[in-house]
């Protein structure tokens, strides 16, 4: 019997081995390397000298690092909750439709999500173009003159956040829609028999029952938006890079433009820690609320 058990163990290990190997080589090893690099003065490629925590000391003193942290946080605030709420609202509206109408509307909302970021950038750069962009009509009406949105400092982040929500909310709608579909219609019927108002139905039935999906969407969004890079990098081209620098962009600029591999690794570790801490915290908080 004992021998049999051991044999089973061997077989089991054999089965998980490919995953463990790939996970180790492609995730654990690079992560370990990144942490190691952050304690050296390595250039972009190749090894460096061990310099202890010097990179971290420099980082805490680096004005641009803090700007990038602030901007990343600002972007997260601008996107995570709005994106989730908008996704939920649209999903609830779409779920009232039936048959092909639902499929058509859903496809329309999902369409932006399949576009590559460069295409999204092109579309919105044209839409907001100062000379011929269609968005200049409402903007001129509001501000009294044509406004270069991506060149006006206070508008930059909100505008990029807006484009991001437009681009990615299709996926959230899909998640919410499947969540809404899994709520049994019996419950709604019972509520309707009890003469519950629409708002009460939403507050007492839909919202609590959809909560696990909401928590999931919020967490996915948080992790995704903390890693913001492409949109900001693309839209800032030809403008002022520093005031709207986000963390991944700063890592890129240190590593690839300034050849400071070690320092870039230190910032990466900081981002890694931030992502882990926030996602665990958020998921715990959200799960707790859902269980009450």
């Amino acid at each position: 019997m004992l021998r049999n058990h051991r044999q089973e163990m061997v077989v089991a290990l054999l089965f998980v081995l490919p995953f463990v190997l790939i996970y180790g080589v492609l995730f654990l090893w690079p992560t370990f390397q990144m942490v190691y690099l952050s304690f050296t003065d390595a250039p972009l490629i190749g090894p460096g000298e061990w310099i202890g925590i010097e990179n971290y000391v420099e980082m805490f003193d680096d004005r641009r690092f803090w700007t990038s942290v602030r901007n990343t946080a600002y972007f997260v605030v601008l996107t995570v909750i709005p994106n989730t709420l908008i996704g939920l609202v649209i999903a609830m509206m779409v779920s009232r439709l039936k048959g092909w109408q639902q499929s058509l509307i859903l496809a329309m909302f999902f369409l932006p999500y399949i576009l590559p970021v460069t295409v999204v950038y092109r579309i919105w750069n044209w839409m907001f173009n100062v000379q011929f962009g269609i968005m200049q009509y409402p903007l001129t009406w509001i501000f009294g003159k044509a406004t270069p949105v991506f060149r006006t400092q206070w508008m930059f982040m909100p505008a990029v956040a807006f484009v991001t929500v437009w681009w990615t909310c299709g996926f959230n709608i899909l998640l919410f829609l499947s969540g809404l579909r899994s709520i049994s219609t019996d419950i709604y019927e019972a509520a309707a028999l009890d003469n519950a108002s629409r708002w009460t139905i939403f507050r007492r039935i839909t919202w609590p029952l959809i909560w696990p999906v909401t928590a999931l969407v919020l967490t996915i969004q948080l992790i995704l938006q903390l890693k913001i890079f492409d949109q900001v990098y693309l839209f800032v081209q030809g403008g002022r890079p520093d005031p709207s620098m986000v963390m991944v962009q700063y890592i890129y600029s240190q590593a690839f433009q300034k050849n400071e591999g070690g320092y870039a690794a230190a910032i990466s570790v900081a981002l890694f820690v931030i992502v882990i801490v926030f996602s665990i915290l958020q998921f715990q908080v959200l799960r707790g609320r859902g269980q009450k």
Binding site: L44, I45, V130, P148, Q153, G238, R240, F256, Q257, K258
Partner: protein, 427 residues
């Protein structure tokens, strides 16, 4: 039997011949960042090279995006040995390129073998390709910024002299007066890039150089105290063009060119590399006005214009050695390009190769002949690992000088913050 033998022999020789032809054919992988009107000229130069060297050397050219994208790619690909065999490189960036280990040393013996050396280039130009006395780049041209003008509009405003060239533009006040005269008949009197790096740096450095400003002191100080007021007045002059509505605010490079070529702007400050754009449009009859180009006017004490050079460099490719055949081919490419650089002058540039520059054909080439005087008073980028194309200095220009041009920041603050930022990165 005999017949078969003969046939076998024949086929063997044929195969051998074919093989040797294949072996002798060297392919030189070439990267450049020449995407504008000058890129078209470079492509035809490469084609000419390939036809003249048919069966021996073929250049396989790729054009990448100018500036940061190009240099980031060179940096990373060179480090892992995946770089090209030869590439265009800004001489202003040689210090940074050498410091980050992207460039391979070029032996002067190899250059001498193809007829190039210190004596075939102007000395400042030749030395700009060096670091610690070693050669890392071979100059190809000198390029600068010029003032393009719409002859029709200048004539209307009475700003053309007897010789048909613009007059009365020297001095910051006179220039401002000229802008005021030009403004009523144009959307903008002057178009120039007012967002990002590039033109803002080039114009700033020219106006700064006209006051003998020092950007990087010998002790490693950026903008030493007595140069700060000079830098501030340079930025103030640039900001006054936008503030007065004479120049477009927050306009990117392409937009600034379009404003001039569409006839919306009377004057245009930009690099000589846009000369082919104007020439080609005029040749097709799409320009709709007569154009010309002169050296940047003197706003302050004496003439001075920013200048840089395109050169050729060989990536270090992670220490990978080239085969002697490949190396010979690469040097043949570099030498041939320089010896045929008259065609490159057609792209607006001033050839670096002295025999071409001194040739009668170049001296009568227009508009180059009009503005080539600028070479005598050119100011080159500071020699530093923080300076040069796509360097921290360029980033600082986008972050501080461009906003100051648009009135988002006072010129004094812009210069103070730029100094602090660069000093911070240097220490």
């Amino acid at each position: 039997m005999n017949k078969i033998f003969k046939l076998a022999m024949l086929s063997t020789t044929a195969t051998a011949l074919l093989l040797s032809a294949v072996q002798a054919q060297e392919t030189v992988v070439w990267w450049d960042f020449l995407g504008g009107g000058d890129g078209v000229r470079m492509k035809s130069l490469i084609e000419r090279f390939n036809t003249e060297h048919e069966g021996e050397i073929t250049i396989e050219g790729t054009t990448l995006e100018w500036g940061t994208p190009f240099y980031s790619k060179v940096q990373t690909s060179s480090a892992i040995g995946e770089g090209p065999d030869v590439m265009t490189y800004h001489l202003s960036r040689v210090p940074l390129g050498v410091d980050s280990g992207a460039l391979a040393e070029i032996s002067t013996d190899d250059l001498a073998a193809v007829g190039l050396g210190a004596d075939t280039f102007a000395s400042a130009n030749w030395e700009a390709g060096q670091s610690d006395g070693k050669q890392y780049a071979v100059p190809f041209d000198i390029h600068s910024i010029v003032l393009y003008y719409n002859k029709d509009k200048l004539a209307e405003a009475g700003l053309l002299g007897e010789d048909g060239k613009p007059t009365g533009l020297d001095g910051a006040d006179n220039f401002m007066a000229a802008l005021e005269q030009l403004q009523p008949n144009s959307e903008y009197a002057l178009s120039l890039q007012t967002s990002g790096d590039g033109t803002p740096w080039r114009v700033f450095y020219s106006l700064f150089g006209q006051q003998d400003g020092v950007f990087l002191g010998e002790d490693g100080t950026f903008l030493p105290d007595d140069s700060i007021p000079k830098a501030v007045s340079a930025v103030e002059t640039m900001a006054s063009w936008v503030e007065g509505g004479f120049a477009p605010a927050l306009t990117e490079y392409e937009g600034s060119v379009a404003l001039f070529t569409s006839g919306a702007a009377a004057l245009h400050m930009n690099g000589v590399w846009e000369v082919p754009t104007m020439t080609d449009l005029a040749a097709k009859g799409d320009l709709g006005f007569e154009w010309g180009a002169i050296a940047i006017p003197t706003f302050f004490d004496h003439p001075a214009t920013w200048a840089d050079s395109h050169g050729f460099a060989i990536p270090s490719n992670g220490g990978k050695e080239m085969t002697p055949e490949k190396k010979a081919a690469v040097f043949e490419v570099i030498a041939w390009m320089n010896k045929n650089s008259l065609a490159w002058a057609d792209a607006g540039h001033i050839p670096a190769y002295s025999p071409t520059r001194d040739s009668e054909e170049f001296k009568t080439m227009e508009p180059n002949a009009t503005y080539s005087v600028l070479a005598d008073t050119a100011v080159f980028d500071p020699k530093s690992t923080l300076a040069g194309v796509a360097s921290p200095v360029y980033d600082a220009v986008a972050n501080y000088i461009a906003p100051a041009m648009n009135g988002e920041m006072s010129p004094q603050d812009a210069i103070d913050e730029m100094k602090a930022d660069l000093q911070d990165q240097a220490d």
